[in-house]
C-alpha cells in the first residue's frame, strides 16, 4: 500500500511534466494542426537558461522569468523563420520542419552552454513530506500545482475568451477566420510564443528533480506526444489527464514490473491508442456534413 502510494506520487510528478508538454502540443495543434516536435526542446531551454542565469548570479525567480521569456521568443522565432515561410505546405512537411528545428535547438544549446547535467535548488527545500507512509518532495507539489494552474488558465482561454476562440477558429478554417477579421499570422505567433512559454515553465519546475542537460527534450517530446494522443489531441483536458495517466502507468510499470520496461510504456500507449481509439479519451467527435 505504501509502495503503491509512493509510485503514485512519483507518477503524478512525472505525469504533470508530460501534461505540461502535452498542453504545449495542444495549443500549436489547435492553431495549425501541426504537432510541434520541438516542444521538448522548449522544456530543456527553460531548465538550461534558468541554470545558467542562476549560476551567473541572477536570483532564481528572475532567472526563471528570463528563461520563460527567452524561450517564448525562440518559439516565436521558430514560427517566423521556419513555419511561416512554409505556409501552404502540407502539415506533414511542417511537422518535419519542427523535428529539424528541435535538432538545431539541441545543437545550438550544446554549443552555447555545455553537455553537462545541471540543476538548481528546489523552490521550497529538499525535505520530503511524509504522507501516509510515503514521501513526496515539495518540488513535486510545485510541478503538479503548476500543471493544474496552466491547465485552468488554458481552459479559460479557449472557452471563455474571444482570442482563444479565434485560435480554435484559425485551426478549424483559416480562410474563414481571415474573412471574419482574424489576423491568422498573429494567432500563429501567439500560439508558438505561449506554447514555448509553457514548455519553459515546465522545465523550470522539473529541473530540481530530474536535472537538465541539452538532450532531455527528445524523450519529453515523445512522452508528451503519447500523453496528448492518449487524452485526445487538441483537448486541454485530454492533455492533462493523458499526461498524469501516462506518468502513473510508467511509475507503476517501473515499480511492479521492471524499471527497464518503463520507457516502453509511452510507445505501447501510442500503439494502443492508434489501434483502439484513435481520437483518444477526450478527442473531439468530428461531425461534418458536406
Amino acid at each position: 500500500m505504501d509502495a503503491l502510494l509512493q509510485f503514485l506520487f512519483s507518477g503524478l510528478t512525472v505525469g504533470a511534466v508530460y501534461a505540461l508538454v502535452a498542453l504545449g502540443f495542444t495549443i500549436i495543434y489547435n492553431a495549425s494542426d501541426v504537432v510541434n516536435f520541438a516542444q521538448g526542446e522548449f522544456v530543456m531551454l527553460g531548465g538550461m537558461i534558468t541554470v545558467f542565469a542562476f549560476d551567473a548570479g541572477v536570483p532564481l525567480p528572475l532567472a526563471a522569468v528570463v528563461a520563460i521569456l527567452v524561450t517564448a521568443a525562440i518559439g516565436v522565432a521558430l514560427n517566423k523563420l521556419a513555419i511561416e515561410p512554409a505556409r501552404g505546405a502540407p502539415v506533414v512537411s511542417l511537422i518535419i520542419i519542427t523535428i529539424g528545428a528541435s535538432i538545431l535547438i539541441r545543437g545550438a544549446t550544446q554549443l552555447v552552454f555545455d553537455k553537462q547535467l545541471h540543476r538548481f535548488p528546489a523552490f521550497s527545500g529538499d525535505d520530503p513530506i511524509r504522507v501516509l507512509g510515503a514521501t513526496i518532495l515539495p518540488q513535486s507539489l510545485w510541478v503538479i500545482g503548476g500543471a493544474l494552474a496552466v491547465f485552468v488558465g488554458l481552459w479559460v482561454f479557449f472557452t471563455r475568451t474571444l482570442t482563444g476562440k479565434a485560435v480554435l477558429a484559425t485551426a478549424n478554417n483559416r480562410i474563414a477566420a481571415q474573412l471574419v477579421g482574424i489576423n491568422t499570422g498573429w494567432i500563429m505567433t501567439l500560439s508558438f510564443g505561449l506554447s514555448a512559454a509553457i514548455g519553459a515553465f515546465a522545465g523550470v519546475l522539473v529541473t530540481p528533480i530530474t536535472l537538465v542537460s541539452y538532450d532531455v527534450g527528445v524523450a519529453l517530446a515523445l512522452k508528451g506526444f503519447a500523453a496528448a494522443m492518449l487524452g485526445g489531441m487538441g483537448n486541454p483536458k485530454g492533455a492533462l489527464v493523458g499526461g498524469l495517466l501516462l506518468g502513473c502507468l510508467e511509475a507503476m510499470t517501473a515499480g511492479y514490473v521492471s524499471s527497464q520496461y518503463k520507457e516502453a510504456v509511452a510507445f505501447i500507449v501510442i500503439l494502443a491508442v492508434l489501434f483502439v481509439m484513435p481520437r483518444g479519451l477526450f478527442g473531439a467527435k468530428t461531425t461534418e456534413r458536406v
Binding site: A166, N173, A176, L179, I182, T287, R289
Partner: protein, 233 residues
C-alpha cells in the same frame, strides 16, 4: 461603393480572370451569374483578398484594396460569405456568430446576435450545437448570419443556393432581398441565374473570365441569349 477595373487573376500560369470591370453602387443588389468555371468565385476571392489579383484595381468606398490584407477588409466594411459556406464546424453555432463579430466588443454584438436569431430562428434552437452538425441549408444561414455580424456595408455572397432544396433556396433568396432594408449592399454570385436575377437590381453575365453581358436584371431575364444559355427557357 465598389468599383473593379481591369481585374486579372491567375492560378499559377493559368489566368482565369482576363480584365474584368464591375461596379456596385450603394444599396444595390448586384448579381454575377455564369456557368461553373466562369471565374465567379475567383472574382469574389480577389475582392475579399483570399486570392491575389495580378492586375487591375479594386476600389471600395474610395479606398484601394490592393495592399489591404484579407483580415483587414472586413474592418473596411466588406464581408464575404464564402463558397461552400466555410463555417467553423468544430465550434458551436453561437461561437460562430460571436466570431463573426470578432472585431467588436460592445453591446451591439448581443443585439446583432438577437437579430440574427430573429432572422433564422432555427439557428437559435441549435445555438449550442456544433455547427458541423447543421444541415446544408442551416449552414448557409449561419454563413450569412456570421457575415452580417461583422456589420458590413457590402456583403459578398458566393453561391448561397448551392446544394440546397428548392424551398430553402427561395428562403435564402428572400433573406438576401431583405438585406436591402438593412442598408447592406449585396454582390451575389450565383449559378442559379433565374433566382438571382429575380431579386437583383442589376446583373452581369460572366463567361470564361470575362463579363459578356450586363444590364438591369429585368432586361437580362428578358434577353433571349440569356434565356437560352442560363435560364433554360
Amino acid at each position: 461603393m465598389l468599383t473593379v477595373e481591369g481585374l486579372r487573376s491567375r492560378y499559377g500560369r493559368i489566368e482565369v480572370l482576363h480584365g474584368l470591370d464591375l461596379k456596385v453602387s450603394q444599396g444595390e443588389i448586384v448579381t454575377v451569374v455564369g456557368a461553373n468555371g466562369a471565374g465567379k468565385t475567383t472574382l469574389l476571392k480577389c475582392l475579399s483578398g483570399t486570392q491575389p489579383a495580378s492586375d487591375g484595381t479594386i476600389v471600395f468606398r474610395g479606398q484601394s484594396l490592393t495592399a489591404v490584407p484579407s483580415h483587414k477588409r472586413l474592418k473596411l466594411g466588406l464581408a464575404q460569405s464564402p463558397e461552400g459556406r466555410q463555417i467553423f464546424t468544430n465550434l458551436s453555432v453561437e461561437e460562430n456568430l460571436r466570431l463573426g463579430a470578432f472585431l467588436f466588443a460592445d453591446d451591439q454584438v448581443d443585439r446583432d446576435m438577437a437579430d440574427a436569431f430573429a432572422m433564422f430562428p432555427i439557428l437559435k434552437e441549435k445555438r449550442n450545437l456544433a455547427a458541423g452538425g447543421l444541415s446544408g441549408g442551416q449552414q448557409q444561414m449561419l454563413a450569412i448570419a456570421r457575415a452580417l455580424m461583422g456589420r458590413p456595408h457590402c456583403l459578398l455572397l458566393d453561391e448561397p443556393s448551392m446544394g440546397l432544396a428548392p424551398l430553402l433556396v427561395a428562403q435564402i433568396f428572400d433573406v438576401v432581398k431583405s438585406l436591402k432594408a438593412r442598408d447592406v449592399t449585396v454582390l451575389l454570385v450565383e449559378q442559379n441565374a433565374f433566382g438571382a436575377l429575380k431579386i437583383a437590381d442589376r446583373g452581369y453575365v460572366m463567361e470564361t473570365g470575362r463579363i459578356t453581358i450586363s444590364g438591369p436584371a429585368a432586361d437580362l431575364i428578358a434577353d433571349p441569349r440569356i434565356r437560352e444559355a442560363y435560364l433554360g427557357l
